[in-house]
């Protein structure tokens, strides 16, 4: 095992990890504000994948160009889902909310299965096999573009929360729901917006990841789990932590594939998760222990 093999694995893991991070960001935003664990996470992301697939087939649109469209569509989906369904269970115990979202997740997977069938389907962009070299470091264009796309979307999101009035209002809701209501914020609309924004992240992440992997309805539960692992490692509710966790998981998966075998990569991620829970249960960048 020489240095460059490892370096290549780390680089490729880092790039994919950024996309994972963007997806986990969607989970973190929703949990951080609405305090709901979105169990339909991977499912919404895979919807974004299939949407980008259709755009590619019908209009020949590069998945990266579908990102804004997929994000907008999933924003609408998330907005309506929160307003019409999820908000109605906010008074129920956690496990009922979990069940509701798990059932919605099952419905999404089955619907995708009915429409698209069980086969894996991907896109072939012109630059799919192109790469460039830095020393002996070989970087694939699709991975690089995917990572750049993820960084752009994530920066937009972080900027939104930091600088816009709506973003600040949402953070106010997250900090103190009652207080937000007292000062006259429309909390239920902001919650719907938040769910929409989280889902938009997933739509974007789905469209981006279509550059790297083929779409498949059964991918969804795996992405859900992956995002959970990332978010716990990074710290549930910490946006920056989600990105860091994503990169960590991406790199650990890539290293596991090189050092052991590709099928061991999830075991590595879960081992990392268990380690983090043992040593720092609030996550790497999480704040308080609950």
């Amino acid at each position: 095992m020489d240095f460059w093999t490892l370096a290549n694995a780390v680089a490729s893991g880092l790039l994919i990890g950024l996309v994972y991070g963007l997806s986990a960001l969607g989970l973190s935003v929703i949990f951080g504000v609405i305090r709901i664990v979105n169990f339909a996470h991977g499912e919404i992301m895979v919807m974004g994948m299939f949407f980008a697939l259709l755009m590619f087939r019908w209009l020949g649109l590069d998945p990266l160009l579908s990102v804004p469209l997929a994000a907008a569509l999933m924003f609408g989906f998330g907005y309506v889902l929160q307003l019409a369904v999820v908000s109605r269970v906010s008074h129920l115990p956690e496990h009922m909310q979990f069940l509701l979202l798990a059932a919605i997740a099952i419905m999404i997977v089955s619907a995708l299965l009915l429409v698209f069938g069980p086969d894996a389907q991907g896109v072939e962009v012109d630059y799919a096999w192109d790469s460039f070299a830095v020393g002996e470091l070989i970087i694939d264009y699709p991975k690089m573009f995917a990572a750049i796309g993820a960084i752009v979307v994530a920066s937009l999101l972080l900027a939104f929360f930091k600088y816009t009035t709506t973003g600040k209002a949402i953070r106010a809701c997250a900090d103190n729901r009652m207080g937000a209501q007292v000062v006259g914020l429309n909390v239920s609309r902001l919650y719907a917006l938040t769910f929409g924004i989280g889902a938009a992240c997933l739509g974007a992440a789905g469209a981006i990841i279509l550059l790297l992997f083929e779409a498949h309805p059964y991918l969804a539960p795996g992405y859900t789990l992956l995002a959970f692992v990332i978010v716990i490692i990074g710290g549930l509710g910490s946006l920056f932590g989600a990105l860091v966790g994503g990169i960590l998981i991406g790199v650990s998966e890539a290293l596991a594939a090189v050092l052991f075998q590709p099928s061991m990569k999830t075991a590595f991620s879960f081992a990392l998760l268990i380690l983090v829970l043992l040593l720092r249960p609030q996550g790497l960048l999480g704040k308080a222990v609950r």
Partner: protein
Amino acid sequence: MTAVRRFFGPLSPAGLWLGGAFLLLLLLLPWWGGSYIMTVATTVFYLALVGQSWNLMLGFAGLLSIGHALFVGIGAYTAAYLFAAVGLPPAVGVLPAIGLAVLMGLLIGYLGFRFAIGGVYFALLTIAFAEFVRVVIDHVSWLGATEGFFLKVSEADRHGIDLANLRGAPEMYYYLIMALALGALVLCRYLLRSRLGYYWQAIRDDAGAAEALGVNVLRYKMYAVAISSGMAGVAGVFYAFYQNSLFPEIVFNIERSIEATLGSIVGGVGTLFGPIFGTFILTPLGEIVTEAIDLLKHWHVIDPETKLDGLKLLIWGFIVVLIVLFKPKGLWPWVCVRLRLTRPEAEG
């Protein structure tokens, strides 16, 4: 009779009669139902057993597990491996199976509770462990890895009754799982009204207050996890010898864990009869949907060539959504009131 009456205390006479009649119907099932109905009923009782075990953790002690397939799977693999490798009959193998499942439960519980990892975090920890063990077994060649682990079964096995080796006719499996599920029900009834059960409920409702009153929260949570995972381990042994094939991809699939929760949630979390009642609704419902689709295809109402792989789950998911939205306490409490199955003073 008085003991029975005391046991089912909250049931009204109508409830007792209806329950008795239903039980009789199930006991006589091999005489009136075909092999298909018996297969469905076996699945129902199996899921009721797993559901009862899951319900003990969440409904009694307030610990949400979404990784129950892990305990079932560990029980299944342990007993199956011991049987295949050293010929240990499952009647004995069930003990190490329970032991390992409980150990795994205690490990997760310890990791979780030591750091006060509650609620969602604990649930995610259970998923993480289930996935971790699945991937590990995927790579353990002496457990069959992804190729699956198979138990030999001969044609002659399908006719006898060999409880020690869990080899026999479908009727044997049916009565066995029925006995196990009802046993679990009785155990839960006993636990719920024991000192331990009251501690659990106190912890579930307010862990802080329970702690302040001197309840050793960590210890009793660990008891709940241990008993629950042990029960799931027993279910796993049954699963292994009923299916005779184990694939990590199937046994530890998160869908198995979700399946374990659904019956209880539909029936009513924390209720005694909820898990069994819920599975009695959900499983046949799923079968009816499948049958209805086949019939429609047969009559050419829908094109037989259409692939409707996801339709059953789609409808099923929709029903669950409806229940969560409109009957969040589960169907059992509602049915009890409607059919006056319980005495009015014993509501809830």
